[in-house]
């Protein structure tokens, strides 16, 4: 297969950046999207040109490293899939493919297609956990949890932290990401003691990182590779209102 690639090149955070056009040919349909970029890079290196920087690691959709904005969509043309799980058979022969980094103010570009997503870690730091020290836990089966509840908690817990929800949102909101963690822990009995503070602090951090407000369009859930459902956002909103409007009997 043959493709024309229009790729965002930006030397570093200070550089303005621009698109450059590359042709690739002889690509097998079973080549993954990132392998196609590997092939381009091998060629660029051989030609003495600077290869394209992009993030990746596991290449199986779980680490959340990869993340390209392809033809106007986070992680490319298919819904609910990471960039590394895209194959060239998902594109048309001869297609022109525009490749950009995830764009959002809280995600500054480091180089080419690589962005800094550490804002997401800082949100987790504000309570995206249960405060339990190593060694203090009771026997695991002393906390029975209905299977349906555990399954739902799991569904929310599978967020891979890729930031596609942010890139897909016209307001660059990180709502789905935050909601996934809030909802995961809100489901579980272990998550109850810190439930109020958690939602308040995580949302406050999201705001202070410069993420926008939820656009309520659901664009995030269309791209989310972990298929985090929009019900997570509803849960977050309920918890947020509850935490702010009702008196906290246990407030310190």
């Amino acid at each position: 297969m043959r493709f024309t690639l229009e790729i965002w090149r930006q030397k570093n955070a200070q550089d303005e950046g621009r698109f450059e056009v590359y042709e690739v040919d002889g690509i097998s349909p079973n080549t993954s999207f990132l392998e196609m970029l590997d092939i381009l890079n091998e060629r660029l290196i051989k030609e003495g040109k600077e290869p394209v920087a992009f993030d990746h690691d596991c290449r199986e959709g779980i680490c959340g490293s990869c993340g390209l904005f392809i033809n106007g969509r986070a992680h490319g043309p298919l819904p609910n899939i990471t960039t590394c799980r895209l194959y060239m058979r998902h594109f048309k022969d001869g297609e022109r493919i525009v490749i950009e980094p995830f764009r959002a103010k809280p995600f500054p570009v480091i180089k080419d297609l690589v962005v800094d997503r550490s804002a997401l870690d800082r949100i987790i730091q504000k309570g995206g956990y249960i405060s339990v020290n190593t060694g203090s836990a009771p026997d695991a089966n002393s906390i029975p949890i209905p299977k349906a509840v555990a399954d739902r908690a799991f569904d929310y817990a599978t967020c891979i932290g890729c930031g596609a929800c942010v890139a897909a949102c016209k307001n660059a909101s990180a709502m789905l990401f935050v909601a996934a963690k809030v909802s995961h822990l809100a489901m579980l009995p272990q998550g109850q003691p810190e439930r109020r503070q958690r939602v308040k602090r995580m949302v406050a951090q999201m705001d202070s990182e410069g993420f926008g407000h939820c656009s309520n369009t659901g664009a995030c859930a269309v791209e989310c590779p972990a298929k985090i459902p929009l019900s997570a956002i509803a849960q977050l909103q309920r918890d947020y209102i509850w935490a702010n409007l009702t008196p906290d009997l246990y407030a310190r």
């Binding site: 680490c63 194959y87 249960i130 089966n141 906390i143 299977k147 908690a153 579980l188």
Partner: protein, 660 residues
């Protein structure tokens, strides 16, 4: 370690490959006496550090996979000052995130007769009697606490309808002791450890340095004193001192280029530690996983694992007629050869990994392989789907089925999966004593980076267990024993050792950038991978290893003459990162080959063709090889020194490992 003599023995030369005989490594700090009481008694004998003093002690943890994140979080909770370094752009991206199948623990929630003893026994036997009894028993013992802690952290393990934890069976065990979270157990466990780590960051006990690549370990007067790292964004080198350094940097399976490991996993930190004097234990013990998606093209960048939990319900077969090209559904039942069930009736499709991998190779070598390349076997779910229904199978393996379909374009609900073995895990790693300390004082290695618990073969679902055991429940105790002696050490980087290490690192980078050859880093890496896979992979023999040794030396020499690394060192430069990795793999590979060559027996993953039974099973030689090979590096192109740690089996009598 003071009482290890370094007797200068004559170099042992056999054509090409040679090494020096070192000493008997007898001091490994393993306690004596009753097995069940060893860990408790040992803990009670360790020195303690008072809370107000812990704040004065700095620990560097390199890596934030399961082992590193759990260790750093726990050390932070104790009150130590912890600095974590990862090359990833977030600690949550570590390779541990990809583990699918599950984590073992001797909870016996099933009432199926499990116990600490049995988990210990299975692990020792699974490792083909090449691991330490004391360590393995401790691992089994703390396994139960891991599950408790992880549940308390809110990790959503699979549950039964009654609300209690579900478990399943996994390769090499006749018990259901594997806890899991659908097909994403590693992700859930890592996110738990990551969250605990972030909590300590918030509390100010731990600092995490993202995008920092650790390129050297600084050793002064036999003690670890810090690291040299490169900021991957700016390219700047930094020297960082500490009272102790913990390496939790994962395995080196990517030496083979294609493996199931994440693309960026590498050996740099442990290899650099080895060059600084840390012994490397059993470098040739590499696990090849039986259930991976077969390779399809040259540009394939990695191999994808299909969790071995699939073998619980899938049946492995090939057509009874070699070269049968009919599509699988047209092959009637009586013409299918369920070779695992036939060869190993009591374990069937659940035999340990090394056995399943070699069996797949054997049937493919005999011409029974399927698929376009003939290097694959079927893993078939049709019986299980009939027996349990689609819903149950979906619950168990839904995401794996999807992943398979996506990669291969084939639908495993309708046609059997095709699988083939791939490099997966390294049992070898830095040699550590019972305290998880290397022979360099104050330098620790945990998780896949050390050699400790799995002998010559790791059981499924035991790496997650070991990483978390090391990080949550072992290192936090043992490291205090050393740190207690370091209270009055003032930290500084203004020393000859730091200056020298930083200078050497800079020179290495400059040299790579200045070669300006014609070949890419990946070309060399692919070539190295092929040599290792062919000669130091599923089966090995002396001749092949000798040839591999020569090939790797030649390749390394060419690498340093012909490689082209674009860009500069003062910027974000992914090719430079890779070049540094491959340079280290090229050196480590040599040691792997020497180790495989020197071990003239077969055990676990290490099948030497010269030493096997007529049926092709491993023929162990306990008389001569019941030891850990701990290799000391003596310089480039110099024969390494072999120190032997004898393995004593006081509680389990080594037997022929039979799964028939």
């Amino acid at each position: 370690m003071s009482d290890i003599l370094t007797a200068p023995a004559p170099a042992q030369t056999r054509t090409g490959i040679s090494w020096r005989e070192g000493t008997l490594l007898t001091r490994n700090n393993c306690p004596e006496g009753e097995l069940e009481k060893r860990w408790t008694r040992h803990k009670d004998s360790l020195r303690l550090v008072a809370p107000h003093n812990k704040r004065k002690l700095e620990v560097i943890v390199v890596g934030a996979g399961l082992a590193g994140a759990s260790a750093a979080a726990s050390l932070g909770e104790l009150g130590y000052r912890v600095k974590v370094f990862v090359y990833h752009n977030s600690p949550r991206r570590a390779h541990s995130i990809a583990a699918q199948g599950g984590i073992n623990a001797a909870k016996n929630y099933r009432n199926d007769g499990d116990s600490v003893w049995r988990l210990f026994y299975d692990t020792i036997k699974g490792g083909d009697f090449r691991a330490r009894e004391s360590n393995v028993y401790r691992l089994a013992e703390v396994s139960v606490k891991i599950i408790d802690h992880c549940v308390a952290q809110g990790i959503p393990f699979a549950r039964e309808y009654g609300g209690y934890l579900d478990t399943r069976s996994f390769g090499g065990a006749q018990l259901m002791r594997t806890f899991y979270a659908r097909g994403q157990t590693g992700q859930q466990l890592l996110l738990g450890a990551y969250a605990a780590l972030q909590r300590q960051v918030e509390l100010g006990n731990v600092q995490v340095f993202y995008n920092h690549d650790v390129l050297d370990i600084v050793v002064e007067e036999g003690k670890a004193r810090g690291i040299i790292c490169r900021n991957l964004i700016t390219g700047a080198l930094h020297s960082v001192p500490a009272h102790a350094v913990v390496l939790a940097t994962g395995g080196y399976g990517n030496a083979y280029y294609l493996s199931t490991n994440a693309k960026l996993s590498n050996a740099t930190a442990i290899w650099r530690a080895c060059r600084r004097g840390a012994y490397f234990g059993n470098p040739s013990f590499v696990q090849i996983h039986p259930t991976c998606i077969p390779q399809s093209g040259e540009y394939q960048s990695k191999l994808t694992l299909m969790s071995e939990s699939l073998r619980n319900d899938g049946r492995v077969w090939v057509p009874r007629t070699p070269g049968d090209k009919r599509p699988p559904h047209e092959i009637p039942e009586h013409q299918r050869w369920y070779y695992l069930e036939e060869w190993y009736p009591s374990f069937g499709n659940l035999v340990p990994r090394d056995i399943a991998s070699r069996a797949a190779k054997r049937v493919c070598d005999m011409g029974y392989g399927v698929g376009p390349t003939g290097r694959a076997v079927y893993l078939d779910f049709s019986d299980a789907i009939k027996r349990l229904g689609k819903e149950v199978i979906y619950q168990r393996y839904g995401n794996l089925f999807e992943m398979y379909e996506e990669i291969t374009g084939e639908n495993p609900w309708e046609t059997p999966m095709r699988i083939y073995p791939a490099v997966h895990y390294t049992m070898g790693g830095l040699w550590v004593d019972y305290n998880l300390m290397t022979n360099i004082e104050g330098l620790y290695a945990i998780g896949e980076a050390n050699f400790s618990d799995h002998g010559a073969n790791r059981l499924g679902a035991s790496a997650l267990m070991q990483g978390l055991a090391d990080g949550y429940f072992i290192l936090p105790y043992t490291i205090g024993d050393y740190l207690a002696t370091q209270l009055f050490v003032k930290l500084t980087t203004d020393t000859a050792a730091f200056r020298e290490a930083e200078k050497e690192t800079q020179q290495r980078i400059d040299r790579l950038l200045s070669i300006q050859g014609k070949r890419t880093v990946d070309e060399f890496h692919r070539e190295l991978g092929k040599v290792l896979w062919d000669e130091c992979g599923l089966s090995r023999n002396a001749q092949g290893l000798l040839s591999a040794f020569e090939q790797v030396r030649a390749l390394r020499e060419r690498f340093w003459r012909e490689v082209y690394v674009p860009g500069t060192g003062e910027e974000f430069n992914q090719n430079l990162e890779r070049a540094l990795r491959v340079a280290d793999f090229l050196e480590l590979a040599e040691l792997m080959i020497i180790d495989a060559y020197h071990r003239e027996e077969s055990c676990g993953c290490h099948l030497r063709e010269e030493y096997q039974t007529p049926e092709g099973e491993a023929l162990r030689n306990d008389e001569e090889f019941a030891y850990v090979a701990a290799w000391e590096w003596n310089g480039e192109n110099q024969p390494p020194t072999l120190h032997k740690e004898p393995l004593k089996f006081e509680f389990v009598k080594p037997t022929v490992r039979s799964y028939k």
